[in-house]
Each structure stands twice: as structure tokens, then as C-alpha cells.
């Protein structure tokens, strides 16, 4: 358990509270601006987590974040941008086996140089985030950076969850069709584990956002001690393991289009568990009983190529913006279970990888609407997005990674959101979420209060249902929570 220093915390709070109004630090004739925030997040579970193998402590988040951003205007055509993020989290009684400091950070999260090269070429070089596509809740074409879902699933803004990578990002404007070309090259300078998604601790520990305990039984006929030898096969720091993306954007009338291709890796690990060979003779079995068996589990991140397109259009007649995303994942890898006959019984004996071309698409609408009897001055922004994933080469043995739960050939989701603000944007309520047509829900509510330029107070609640504990958002069923955020920004 880490030790907090109340005196230091009190000192920081006293300084912050005494400050009447704190603004960005401006240096060198405003060519350098430094600002940021201090954020404290306190969360509790709304449901008992002990059925899911966790301890009974209801606190699920006690996280402090310091983020400092620096903008440096070097010349009229060159700027430097840098983001530092430091995070400290408490240790949680509810978690099992998660090492102290697992969620902590002290990191130059982003640092990049923006350069205008001539009239039409713009370069951004350094550690950064890049977002493509139109989808909000789900990552269809927004797949340039991996994400960190270890500390709060997907319930924070993606901006705070993406893992920035070192890359060369160029924009080149073309004179026809108001078009431009965007090129991305991730040469692999990052730490190897930063090239893929960071997931909650699993296998040997239970984090607060670890999915439910697996329903897989190895069905070994005799009690044999198991040792796990996990080998993460992250992309290498080599040119061969670069990621490359190309996007062409253009306008036809009031329609805006983008077509893209991104050569990357599967950012989600796929476990490969080789067949467990049991000895046939008595001596071998006795040896196993004494020494146990070592399971070699390879976590693989296979290569992946994604081709896609997106479109948006402002439809004036209905006052709405229409959005489309279409992505074709070539040979998308999935976990597949293999049933074998072991000592006369059928068991899941090992996992392997099967591939399927996969289509993901989105049709979305955003429409601001004045509902004067609810809000006289400010509109309600209403958003809806229909999303489907279709596995073209679906196989019956494809399962959710880590579970004996089949993957559907067609998965359908509806994302939605409504937001407005009252009292001159001092109070902003938001309701949003995702409906999984298999019967799952994820609802996010928030109420933000902005009393002045420095303080922000957010009350949030997240609610998750699922038709099963082992399917889609059902993997997190029961993890309803209430969050209080206090932010001091300058």
C-alpha cells in the first residue's frame, strides 16, 4: 500500500484554493505557453464485485493526474508541443495480485514538432495521436494508435486512453477537389509494449477492469499443478515492423470523402496455447503430479491490413450531419478454440488463431435541436450511430479471447448521445451509451459544473448490462460505478 503524504496534499490544495484565478504561464512574448490541470478521480462500485473474484472494497478509483502542456512557437512556420502526464493511483483492496504502481505514470506523453514546409506541405514529427474516421464510441477507422484500457476500460475520452506513438505524419494539399493526402509512418521507435493495447492485468491477477473470470475449464482428468510461461510477442523495434498509413481526402459538392489504408498490427493480443501433451506411461504421469506442467502461452499480435473509407455530408433540409465509416479488415485474426480428445473426454485443449475478412461500418447522424421548453437558449446535440461488424469467413470455433464464448458472425450496435448546457454553459449534462443488439447496454451519464475558469467538478455514473457474463460488454456486467472528478486547470 502506498503512503500518501497528507501535509503535501494539503499544501498543494491550499495553494490552489488560495489562488483567485490562475492562468496559463506565458513566456518569451507569449511564444511559450504552459498550462495544464490537476485532476482527482474518486470512484466507487455500485454493485458487489465479489462474485467476480474481487475483494469487497467498494472503492474502484483513487487516481491523481497532473498534466502539463507546453506550446512553443519557434517561428511562424514551426511549433513544438509537449505533454507531460504524471499519474498516481492508490492500491486497491478489491484487486487481486496487481502490483503497486501498475497504473502509475511519469511520461512525456506527446512531443512533436509542427512544420509548414512551403505552401502545401505540413509535417508533424514526434510522439503523437492521430485519429481517422467518423465513429465516436467504437474504433472502426480510429486505429492508428493503440489504447490503454487497463485503468478505466473505454469510459474515458479516447484522447486520454490512446497510447501516443512516435511517427512521421504529413499532410499535402492538392489543388483539385479540395483534396489532400495524409501519410503516416510509425517506424517503431516506441517501447515495444507501447505499440499495442495495454489491457488490465489478467491471467495472474485481477484488476478492477479485468473482464470476468474465464469460463474455460482445462478439464484435466487429474489435479496437476499448472505453471504458465507467457511470452508477449510485441512488434519489434525494427523497420520491418513499421506501421504505414495513407489517406486521401476530397470533396465532391458538399460531400466530403476519405479513403485510406493502414498496415498495422492487431493491437489486441491473441493467445496461442500449444496442445498440452500428456504422457502415456505411469512414470510420466507421476512426474507430472510431482512437478506439474508448464503451459506455454504466446501472446501474438499478427499483422493486419485495414482498407477503409469515410464520408460526411451536411444535410441542410433536416439540419443534420450524416456520417459513414466503412472498414475492410483483411484477414482479421480471431482466437479459435480447438477441441481434442483427452483421456476419453472432449476438452478445450489449446487455442490458435483463425482469420476472417471482416467488414465494419457505421451510419451516423448528428443533429442539434432546440427544445425550448427544456432549454431556452442552448440546443440539445443528439447523436446516433448504427454500427455492424460482419465476419465474412466466420468459423464456429472462433471465441472471445480468453473465454469459451462464441463470436457472432454479425454484431450490431447502436451508439447514442445527448448533451446540452444550462446557465451559460456552467452546467452541462450528458447522457450517452451503446446498445448491443444481443441485449447488452453501456450507459454513461455525466454532469459537469464549471464555476469559473479554473475549477471543474464532474459527477459521472456508468452502467453496464449484458445478456451473458462472457459476451461483448457483458464481460464487464455488474461493474456499475459512480465517479467524482475534481479538476483544477490553468
Amino acid at each position: 500500500m502506498k503512503v500518501f503524504h497528507p501535509a503535501r496534499v494539503f499544501l498543494v490544495l491550499a495553494v490552489v484554493l488560495c489562488a483567485e484565478s490562475v492562468q496559463a504561464l506565458s513566456l518569451w512574448d507569449d511564444r511559450v505557453r504552459v498550462n495544464g490541470y490537476l485532476k482527482s478521480q474518486f470512484g466507487v462500485w455500485l454493485e458487489d464485485q465479489s462474485p467476480y473474484g474481487m475483494g469487497d472494497n467498494a472503492i474502484n478509483m483513487l487516481r491523481g493526474t497532473l498534466q502539463i502542456e507546453t506550446d512553443v512557437k519557434l517561428t511562424d512556420w514551426a511549433k513544438l508541443y509537449c505533454v507531460f502526464r504524471g499519474v498516481r493511483e492508490a492500491s486497491y483492496e478489491a484487486e487481486v495480485g496487481v502490483p503497486d504502481g501498475f497504473y502509475d505514470e511519469e511520461d512525456i506523453r506527446e512531443i512533436f514538432l509542427d512544420v509548414d514546409v512551403g505552401e502545401d506541405l505540413h509535417l508533424r514529427i514526434g510522439r503523437q495521436q492521430v485519429v481517422w474516421g467518423e465513429a465516436d464510441y467504437q474504433l472502426i477507422l480510429d486505429i492508428i494508435n493503440p489504447v490503454d484500457m487497463s485503468w478505466h476500460f473505454m469510459l474515458e475520452p479516447w484522447e486520454d486512453l490512446r497510447i501516443p506513438n512516435y511517427m512521421l505524419h504529413s499532410f499535402y494539399r492538392l489543388p483539385f477537389l479540395k483534396s489532400s493526402i495524409e501519410l503516416i509512418w510509425i517506424p517503431g521507435l516506441d517501447d515495444r509494449e507501447d505499440r499495442v493495447n495495454k489491457l488490465p492485468p489478467s491471467v495472474t491477477a485481477i484488476g478492477r477492469w479485468t473482464p470476468h473470470p474465464t469460463n474455460i475449464s482445462m478439464d484435466l482428468p487429474i489435479p496437476i499443478p499448472l505453471r504458465q510461461n507467457i511470452n508477449y510477442k510485441y512488434p519489434n523495434r525494427s523497420l520491418e515492423d513499421s506501421n504505414i498509413g495513407l489517406r486521401y481526402m476530397f470533396s465532391l459538392g458538399d460531400f466530403e470523402f476519405a479513403i485510406m489504408d493502414y498496415y498495422t498490427f492487431s493491437y489486441a493480443p491473441l493467445p496461442v496455447l500449444r496442445p498440452i501433451a500428456l504422457p502415456n506411461d505411469l512414470g510420466g504421469i507421476l512426474d507430472l503430479l510431482v512437478n506439474g506442467i508448464t503451459i506455454d502461452l504466446d501472446m501474438e499480435y499478427p499483422r493486419l491490413n485495414v482498407t477503409g473509407a469515410s464520408m460526411n455530408y451536411y444535410w441542410d433540409w433536416v439540419g443534420a450531419v450524416l456520417r459513414l465509416d466503412f472498414a475492410y479488415y483483411w484477414d482479421q485474426p480471431y482466437t479459435a478454440k480447438q477441441l481434442t480428445d483427452m483421456m476419453g473426454t472432449q476438452s478445450i485443449n489449446y487455442f490458435t488463431i483463425e482469420e476472417s475478412d471482416t467488414i465494419k461500418y457505421l451510419v451516423g447522424v448528428d443533429r442539434p435541436s432546440m427544445i425550448r421548453w427544456l432549454n431556452k437558449t442552448t440546443s440539445f446535440m443528439i447523436m446516433g450511430q448504427f454500427i455492424q461488424t460482419i465476419l465474412l469467413d466466420h468459423k464456429d470455433n472462433m471465441v472471445v479471447t480468453g473465454f469459451d464464448a462464441p463470436i457472432d458472425k454479425i454484431q450490431t450496435f447502436l451508439n447514442f448521445g445527448v448533451t446540452t448546457s444550462y446557465f451559460h454553459a456552467k452546467i452541462a449534462p450528458t447522457v450517452g451509451g451503446m446498445y448491443d443488439f444481443t441485449g447488452g447496454w453501456l450507459i454513461q451519464n455525466s454532469l459537469e459544473y464549471k464555476p469559473d475558469n479554473n475549477w471543474r467538478i464532474n459527477l459521472k455514473s456508468n452502467h453496464i448490462w449484458g445478456h451473458s457474463d462472457f459476451d461483448s460488454v457483458g464481460l464487464f456486467r455488474g461493474k456499475d460505478e459512480f465517479i467524482l472528478e475534481l479538476i483544477f486547470q490553468w
Binding site: E69, T377, H424, D452, N453
Partner: protein, 402 residues
Amino acid sequence: MRNSYRCVTSTRILRSASLLLVILAFLFPGRVLAERPEIGTVIDHTNWQKYKEYLGTAVQTLMEKNYISYRIVDRHKHMTFPIDPWTEKCNGQASVGPNDELINYCGAGVPFPQIDLNDPKAGAKAYWNQDKRYTGDTAIMSPATVMIIDKKGHERSFTAEMLYYKATERTVLPPIPAIPNSDTRAYIRINTLAPFDMKGFAVVMDIKRYELNLPDQQWAYIPMLRRVRRMSTALKGDSFAGTDLTYSDSYPGAPYEFTSKILDFKEMLMCAYCDDACMRDLVEKRQGLKIYNIPVEFTQIYVVEVTPKDKNYHYSKYVYYLDSEYWGIQMKECYDLKGELWKLQTFYGVLGCGAVGAAGVTSMTDLQADHMTFNDSSKSYKYNADLPEKEFLPQRLKELGQ
């Protein structure tokens, strides 16, 4: 020619007005004959009723609440602007059509430098004139600070860089008078610099040429999404970033979408000229909602009532106070859907910045809620800077976004 005509017209009007005042004074003693104050007079909540003929309706309300006071200064000298030659050259060409549309406009300048008050289209002509007033071909205001102030004086603010680019009615920067083969009338780009949770938010508005009848377009870079999003421009009555302003307060729409009527043409007290020192003084001495000692001068004003033809418009009407010499908007009153006076937008010293109607300091006061949005762009403004059109492309938002 233009000034002499205006003198003749003004003299006739003043004579008629004087006669009328004498008659009315007999009928309604004590109500009509407002005293013309001397230069140097301070008008505040103690004496405003003596001079109310020189004050706009909303200003009288603010005086009564002791939110503002005026100090009368000398009339500023006449200024020339780059559109004046176009106004002279094209004088007499333009007309207003049956649906209040502008016909035969020659591309730049004020289309109707003389207005006959008996002309049934006089209101539409005055409204077209303010639409075509000189605002510079480009403008950069950086930083501009927008303060949101409640009746207790509590303030929040945001700071932004504001860029403006005219694609039509250009008189200084080539190509003149318009960008060829463009359906754009003007672009606006706003990049928010502070506070932290608004930092990086940027928006580009593409205001389409009226005659094409195309919907305006808008894109926003949303830092939390790290993405440029196409935005709907349907709701012009939506509050802009929590301020008292709506999107339409900058661009209410084409003048032919409104019915305009001249209510009055008279001498009024307006903060018509305010140089850098004057603007700094206004900014520094403001106390919450209260702004005292505003320098005002006698200005010939067209009071124009502007009623939207669209019954779903968010205001029932506007009343504009237009400077008859430069056609700048000195003040604009907005009426709610019940017909009650709701807001007053004031442009302090529209001539002080070097362009008309793009004042360095403006305010929008909600008279019903006692709330105000105060915009201070006086620290740094620059007109007719060589600003390339590419700065207003949606792709540029992406390039600049963090």
C-alpha cells in the same frame, strides 16, 4: 456630392422635425422636448430621463439600472475608407427587388449612399448598407478575450484567436472585388487558446454568398476527439459557447430574409469613435456588468426595425441603430419571441479600429437576466493582413489541432 445631398436632406428633416416637435410639445408637454446636452455632460441613472430622446430603448433600461453612464465628447472627424471610391463609382446602380433582394450591386461599396425616407424600400436599403459596410478584407484579432459575466459580477472567460477573410466585396487585397469561382462570401476561423478545457477547440465557418442560396458550412476541431467534425449550421439561434451571443448575432442571414423598416432618423448619443486608449479605458474600468463614463458623441442614426420573415427565427425582431455616415452598427436590440426587449449588443467605437462594425470592444447584455458577454479584442487587431485562403480550409484545422 454625397455629403452635400446628405446635408440638404438632413436640413429638411431637421426643419420638419423641429416643426413637429413644437406641435407635439403643445400636445404632450414635458415628454418630447428633451434637452440637448452640452459636450462634457455626464449622463447616468440620475439624469438620463432629461436626455432620453438621445438614448436607445435598451440604453434607457441600462441607465435606469445604473449599469452604464455616458460622457459626451466632440464628434470625431470624417474618415475615409477603401470602399468609398466604389460607393461613388456605383452610386445609383443598385436597387432593391420586390423580395428585398439586392439587384445590380457592383461588387463593393455601400449600395445606397442616399436614402429617401419616403421610399417604401428605405428600410431594406439601410439594412443592405450595413451589410456592405467596410469591415476590412481580412482581420486578425489575437488574442480576443470573451468574458461571461453574471449579475453578481462573477466572471468566466475564454481567449481565442479570431481570423476573418472576405471572399467578396474586397477593396484592398487582390483579387478585387471577389475571389473568382468561389461560392464563399466570407470565412471566419476561431481558435480557442484558454481556459485549458477549451484550449485547442477551433471552428471554421464558411459563409456562402447570398445569391447562391446555399447553406453555410462549418467544421470544428474538437480536441477531446482529436478530430475535425462537420457541424450543422441549422441552429443560428443556439448560444455560442455559453455566451449571451448566438451564432446569428455575427451573421443573422441575408438581408432579404428580413423585412426592414426605418423607425426614426435622428441625432443620438453613440460611442462612435474609440481609439486604443479609449478601449483600454473601457476594458480596465469595467466593473462586472457596469461600464461607466463611456465616451459618446452626437451621431445621426437610422433606427431600423428588422423583422425575420421566418416565423421560426429565434428573435421576434431586431432594432438596429445605424450610423448614417459609415453604416456601422452602433447598437442592436434583440426582442424575444414574446416581443419583449431581450438583449442589447453594443459596438464600442466602431471607427476606432480602422474598420466599421468590427469594433475592438463589444458587449451583449441580456436585459432580462442581467447577464453580459464582453468581448475585448483591443489588445491586438490587424486589418487587411495578407492572410491566405488556405488558413480557412477544414484540413488546416486538422494540421493545427492538438
